[in-house]
Amino acid sequence: MSIQAKPLAESKHASRQVFNSSWLYIGPAIIVMGITSAYPVVYSIVMSFFNWDWGLKLDFVGLKNYVMYLTDPTFWRVLGHTIYFTVGAVTVEVLLGMALAVIVNRLGYGMGIIRTLLMIPLMVSGIIVALMWKILLDPTLGIVNYFLRSLSLPTSAWFGSPSSAMPSIILVDTWWQTAFVFIVLSAGLRSLPQEPFEAAEVDGASGWQAFRYLTLPMLSPVLLTVLIFRTIDCLKVFAIIFGTTGGGPEIVTEVMQTLAYRTAFKFLFLSRSMTIMVIFSLIILAIVMIYIRFGERTPAKSSP
């Protein structure tokens, strides 16, 4: 009897201790996240119902800020630019990164060093990437236009003209972030089993067939993760636009974050800027949810 009673009491004591010590481990994280993210989010949501411009006056305006932006064609245009950039950059980066991963994976000698060197752009800050490309793509003194001229190809005004500004920024982002897609997909490729590919080769499948019916379906979970990360980062783009066009010419490269920056720090409409960010956060959340839903369905569909 006493043998049974003792462990019971002990385990009860232990479980209480576990409960307490859990908070000791997780507590600091909760405090830090509370200050740095929960507080600002709640503050932003509350302030988006007010009118405030750095002064002392604080007026409750209800949904007025929301109505103002949701009926403002410029707001939708800027959202359009953000989507344009994201779709463009993510598509190019994923296709290019995937191609690179497949190609570099075929190499024997020198594969390691090539992979390492291709990773370098990821180590560079977005603002430095932006300034570098501003020099490289300078319409008159830039090396890129010089190359194009020497090959008698048409040159471009790059960041300077409304039609080429956004594609130029997509180009810059591609140089910067394709390596992320490449690195993650390379690791994904190396984690795949070899037998199906050997079998396919023996059966006379072409390289494309092996890619389409073996590599792609097996890689799809990794691909989905890469897509989600790149999409979030591209929607949040700021530094490379701030450093190259600053949103111009006119507003053709203005995106949500540069709009929020200008609204708060140039026009000093604080609460409006927070309204923009609250709406935009909901849009990002919705997009990520669509991805996750889509991802939940794909494996079931592709499995034979």
Binding site: V124, L136, S191, T225, F238
Partner: protein, 276 residues
């Protein structure tokens, strides 16, 4: 025979394409470096000068002007504080999320993911106002703290992945042998996941070092980081290529050294979540 020939051709094409990718990746940086060691006249000459005598005056100049040295020092300090904070807070949290049970665990996991999704300016303006009141605006510690909004979820998420590899049986064994939770963490987890913790520290450091958006809004002068200092050259983009390129190269170098020494860890960290 035909089979082998086809393979050989593919390999040759793969090498050619890889080298093209390498050129596209490296040429921009090398070109920017070459501008930084040219005289003003050579930098702006068209057609470009390919052979020239390198001058280092731009590098000397940026260290002397516009608080660049101060900004560099600020970046080092903010990065060190930020990484330490992320690890000290993140390691126990990652351990708890993996191995302990407590109320609100699901909510916390979800919140960590959501916080990472939100755009910077959602946090920046409230923090700007709070920091003005608390006197944390334009301070190194304040900046290192606000960075945790992205760095902490990122670190916890990575660390959880690495901790998952530690078999739970080892935990139990240590507990039976009389280790406290903290001793288990220190004696079992630290040695076993040291490479993972290093990877987390390195990726966190790179993230903080390269961050611009938050630093731009929450610093002014005293705590201005190197990215903000480089961004300061933006207005002079058309005139001072020498200073701008030299500043860019100087701020890239610490991260390149990192990459050279810790390449394997970086790859491991970047791929962890996706491939698992």
């Amino acid at each position: 025979m035909d089979f082998r020939k086809k393979r050989l051709i593919f390999t040759v094409i793969a090498y050619i394409l890889s080298i093209l990718a390498l050129i596209a990746t490296l040429f921009p940086i090398l070109w920017i470096f070459s501008i930084s060691i040219k005289t003003q006249r050579d930098a702006f000459s068209m057609p470009p000068v390919w052979i020239f005598k390198p001058v280092w005056s731009n590098y000397v100049k940026i260290w002397q002007t516009a608080g660049f040295a101060q900004a560099f020092q600020n970046s080092v300090i903010v990065t060190v504080i930020g990484v330490i904070l992320a690890l000290v807070v993140g390691i126990p949290a990652a351990y708890a999320l993996n191995r302990l049970s407590f109320r609100g665990k699901r909510f916390l996991t979800l919140w960590l993911l959501i916080a990472y999704m939100f755009p910077e300016f959602l946090f920046i303006i409230p923090m700007y106002i709070l920091y003005q009141h608390l006197g944390l605006y334009d301070t190194q510690i304040g900046l290192a703290l606000i960075y945790q909004v992205f760095v902490l979820p990122f670190a916890i998420w990575l660390l959880r992945g690495f901790f998952e590899d530690v078999p739970i049986e080892l935990d139990d064994a240590a507990r039976i042998d009389g280790c406290t939770r903290f001793q288990t963490l220190r004696l079992i987890y630290f040695p076993l996941t040291a490479p993972g913790i290093s990877a987390t520290a390195i990726l966190t450091a790179i993230w903080i070092w390269n961050e611009l958006t938050i630093a731009l809004a929450l610093t002014f002068d005293a705590a201005k980081t190197v990215t903000v200092a480089v961004a300061g050259f933006r207005g002079y983009a058309s005139i001072d290529w020498g200073g701008m390129t030299a500043a860019s190269i100087v701020s890239i170098i610490p991260m390149l050294i990192f990459a050279a020494f810790a390449q394997r860890y970086i790859v491991e960290g970047l791929t962890l979540g996706a491939v698992k």
